[in-house]
Symmetry: C2
Subunit: 79 residues, 2 copies
């Protein structure tokens, strides 16, 4: 089973990485870029086939390790 | 218009970040995690509404700045 986790900054949290990328794109002439937000996409290969049990465990992994709950949110897709 | 770019390591390229995350999850008792791959998800807010022109430009941005073509691949979604 595969879990896809998207970790992204909460709205309103300053995104220095995104701002740096936007600045670089403007310097390269891509003025149509209004803003840039950068997040992480983490793909886990999991053993077992109980989707609901996996969702609970993956949620724990996100809260404890894969995201910083103070400034980040996350979404989980299980396939 | 919004562009969502997923940048990820090419198959076969060592993923030290993913390996570190997998090791940490195993230490925390999550032995069902067989492997971890970590990538970037970059969201661009773009002015203008010509989707095909935007796709060409975003592809250029990816090739020139947002990804390392030697070790990374990318996919583009336009909304």
């Amino acid at each position: 089973m595969k879990a896809k986790i998207h970790v992204y900054l909460k709205p309103g949290v300053l995104d220095p990485q995104g701002a740096a990328v936007a600045g670089a794109l403007h310097n390269m002439g891509y003025d149509e870029v209004a803003s840039v937000r950068q997040g992480k996409l983490i793909e886990l290969d999991l053993t077992g086939d109980d989707v609901e049990a996996a969702r609970v465990r993956v949620d724990e992994m996100c809260a404890k390790l894969l995201s910083n709950p103070v400034i980040e949110s996350y979404s989980i897709e299980l396939e």
